[in-house]
């Protein structure tokens, strides 16, 4: 019996259909397939196919507890799935309210997944159809109809009527009742800046007038519209303008640089979009298929705040390690290093080497995971499967296995460098210039050799050299990551053993510590304040926090596909974003 069964009596044909559904499971994964893989789950070999849209899925697969911020999004996701549908939860029993309880729960491990899929199949074949199915409803799904003018999106009201600006009939539009982050901002009028001498100069930020160089003065945005309306009324009185003038109606609309304004539509990509990391919400304003405006935000990023009473050192290590499921070892290492720096201790050389090997192994796995995500976005079926399977093998491989896997990885890299169309797909896209806010592979793709590992003594003794490319585009970022993967293999080989970082006993001390770790996405820094052995203050500085801010300006005026490639090439981890 499943909670999302479809209404219907159980007849012979229905039984056969239910059996078919049990064999044809399409899962939509929360928070995303990349998190599932980073946790060591091989979804596809367990017999679940990954669906691109909830409309085509019949299983909602929850990997780990759902972050509170994603709750509403998960509810919407569930509501979009077609009945019969089931919820399959791994490693957590609670589902966001008011979702029904998970139909199948299992441990967060591959064996748990396999076992869960078996139970899911039998649940489907037994309970895909039943009588007396009730509708699923939740506050997040309430649709409010509001009316807006097709030409003046700022005109929004609750009743039908005609537009006060142009007189057109207002068209109904759906508005979600749940508070969208930007909804409040729509009503507040942001100030805009205009030149006292040239009223046609209007811009969103302060500056000087391009015509006369005077400083721009702020005014309320609404006043421009009133001006426009007055102007239009004057034209209407003019007599022979007895028709609706498209020039008048459209002149306040934003213009694209190519001079052909199309209908602007605001489209959300995320938080569960197939080609982007789960938890990342990209809101694109599209002008045709070009991106006019972009906004990127992380829904799952933490604030980095600690409980008021602080946290024990060992707990803090676990806390930081769990904060980013895409790079847990690096954050564990960062926490350990910082605590050791605060305590003034240093583990012996062998442990340090082993830790570096562990970090490098995670780098390889992370880059492979990125390749799989990127392959999914650009529709490269072979790479998706190959990179994903290698990632799963590398994730917990010991030194011998790493060496055994090394030829396969080298072959993958060679093959990618020869793949036709891959170069044309990425070259020249999302070009960046060297900038101090850039970190990690993104920075090194702009020709900057900055790498936290080159400041690390142990790394240097292992023969580390930083790689860099200087084109600064998506292709360069791809190449940097491929080169790094190769170097990581060499480092692991030189280190000779893999040791997971474990916190040393620092005792009851007070003081401050600071350390940096080159995570797969770039350098992460942590400053800690300790008070009697408890962590009372932590300041985390992560690469994705900085890279996320770069998304909006980078995407503007790109074609949609190129824009998404740009975002993917940055390898953002929404989890490590500090808000």
């Amino acid at each position: 019996m499943i909670a999302g069964a479809r209404a219907g009596t159980v007849s012979g044909l229905r039984r056969l259909t239910a059996a078919a559904m049990a064999r044809d499971l399409h899962a939509i994964i929360v928070p995303g397939p990349e998190v599932a893989r980073a946790r060591g789950l091989d979804i596809e070999s367990a017999g679940l196919q990954i669906a691109a849209t909830p409309r085509h899925a019949n299983v909602l697969l929850l990997v780990g507890p759902v972050p509170r911020e994603l709750g509403d999004a998960v509810i919407v996701l569930y509501a979009q799935m077609m009945r019969p549908r089931a919820i399959f939860s791994l490693g957590a029993s609670a589902t966001p309210s008011p979702l029904p309880h998970a139909d199948v729960t299992a441990d967060l491990s591959q064996s748990g997944l396999l076992d869960g899929v078996t139970r899911l199949r039998s649940a489907f074949s037994r309970g895909a159809f039943r009588l007396g199915v009730s509708d699923f409803d939740a506050p997040a799904l309430q649709i409010r109809i509001e009316y807006t003018c097709p030409m003046h999106p700022e005109v929004v009201q609750d009743q039908p009527g005609s537009c006060p600006k142009c007189g057109m009939n207002l068209v109904p539009r759906e508005a979600s009742a749940s508070a969208e982050p930007h909804h409040g901002a729509e009503h507040a009028t942001p100030p805009e800046y205009t030149c006292p001498m040239h009223p046609e100069i209007v811009q969103g930020e302060p500056g000087s007038c391009p015509k006369c160089g005077m400083n721009l003065v702020p005014r309320e945005a609404g006043s421009a519209d009133e001006h426009a309306q007055g102007h239009q009324d004057a034209d209407m009185d003019h007599g022979d303008m007895g028709f609706m003038s498209m020039v008048e109606v459209t002149k306040d609309l934003p213009r694209s640089p190519d001079g052909l304004p199309m209908d602007w539509i605001e489209v959300p990509f995320g938080p569960f979009f197939p080609g982007l990391p789960g938890g990342l919400l990209l809101t694109l304003t599209l002008d045709g298929d070009g991106i006019a405006k972009a906004r990127a935000q992380s829904l799952v990023g933490g604030s980095g705040a600690l409980p008021a009473s602080g946290m024990g050192a060992a707990d803090f290590v676990e806390h930081l390690s769990a904060s980013d499921p895409l790079a847990p070892i690096c954050y564990r290492l960062l926490a350990c290093r910082t605590l050791e720096a605060a305590a003034g201790q240093a583990p012996d050389e062998e442990i340090l080497r082993g830790r570096i090997a562990a970090m490098e192994r995670e780098r390889i796995a992370s880059h492979l995971g990125w390749l799989a995500l990127f392959a999914r976005q650009i529709g490269f079926g072979w790479l998706l499967r190959r990179a994903a399977s290698l990632q799963l093998q590398f994730l917990h491989a010991d030194i011998k296995q790493v060496m055994a896997l090394s030829p396969a990885l080298q072959a993958l890299i060679k093959r990618l460098q020869r793949t036709p169309l891959l170069k044309s797909r990425t070259a020249g896209i999302g070009r960046m210039v060297p900038d101090t806010v850039l970190r990690g592979p993104v920075a090194r793709a702009t020709g900057v050799g900055d790498d936290a590992r080159s400041r690390d003594k142990t790394c240097s003794t292992l023969g580390f050299t930083a790689v860099s490319r200087d084109r600064g585009d998506a292709l360069a970022r791809l190449h940097v990551r491929l080169d790094e993967t190769r170097h990581s293999l060499a480092l692991i080989k030189a280190a000779g053993a893999i040791v997971l970082p474990t916190p040393v006993d620092i005792g009851v001390i007070s003081g401050k510590g600071e350390a940096a770790v080159e995570t797969p996405r770039g350098e992460a820094r942590l400053q800690l304040t300790l008070d009697n052995g408890r962590v009372i203050d932590a300041r985390l500085d992560t690469p994705s926090t900085h890279h996320l801010d770069l998304v909006a300006p980078l995407l503007e005026q790109q074609e949609l596909g190129d824009g998404l490639t740009t975002v993917a090439s940055l390898d953002l981890s929404p989890w490590e974003v500090v808000q």
Partner: protein, 175 residues
């Protein structure tokens, strides 16, 4: 007295379909529907050509119009204020005059069609394969100049249209 044959029936059927879709073009407020109605009107015409045993022309009409009208559709959506037709705005003018002109035009032409002496009607059309061969010989024989001119015209039109539509390039400013 001529007999009403199956051919007449199909000509009339597709003709009515073409007319009906033609009317829909100007009666719907959704631009997409308008463009696709025109497409189906033209497709019905193509089917009518097939009913008139002009196989090559019919298939050609059906093929060309699918692409042409789809491109029409994107322009409709681009250049209209309200492509979905939800705002129910009136996009017409001089309505009475236009209706009068349309009706009078149609009636006058039909009158000519009715009362002119068309001479004897041919009953048998050449076979389709023969038609294609004949048309090819015509195009590359007697009418070659006309055909070539048409080809050059369409090439010129393509280039001219592209040139007109291209954005004015920003010239380098000389101080």
């Amino acid at each position: 007295m001529a007999v009403i044959t199956l051919q007449t029936f199909f000509i009339a059927l597709f003709g009515i379909a073409a007319l009906w879709f033609g009317v829909v073009v100007f009666r719907t407020s959704s631009m997409m529907r308008s463009a696709l109605a025109l497409l189906f009107s033209q497709t019905a015409l193509g089917a009518m050509f097939l009913a008139m045993q002009a196989e090559f022309l019919g298939v050609l009409q059906i093929m060309m119009m699918a692409t042409e009208m789809s491109i029409m559709a994107i322009f409709m959506v681009m250049f209209m204020m309200d492509p979905g037709g939800l705002g129910e705005m009136d996009m017409t003018h001089q309505k009475r005059l236009s209706i009068a002109a349309g009706v009078i035009g149609a009636l006058a032409v039909s009158g000519v069609a009715l009362f002119a002496h068309w001479g004897p009607t041919a009953t048998v059309a050449p076979a389709a394969a023969e038609q294609i061969r004949g048309l090819g010989t015509e195009l590359l024989g007697r009418s070659m100049i006309i055909f070539e001119t048409a080809g050059v015209t369409i090439l010129t039109a393509m280039i001219a249209a592209t040139a007109v539509a291209m954005p004015v390039l920003q010239r380098k400013k000389t101080s």
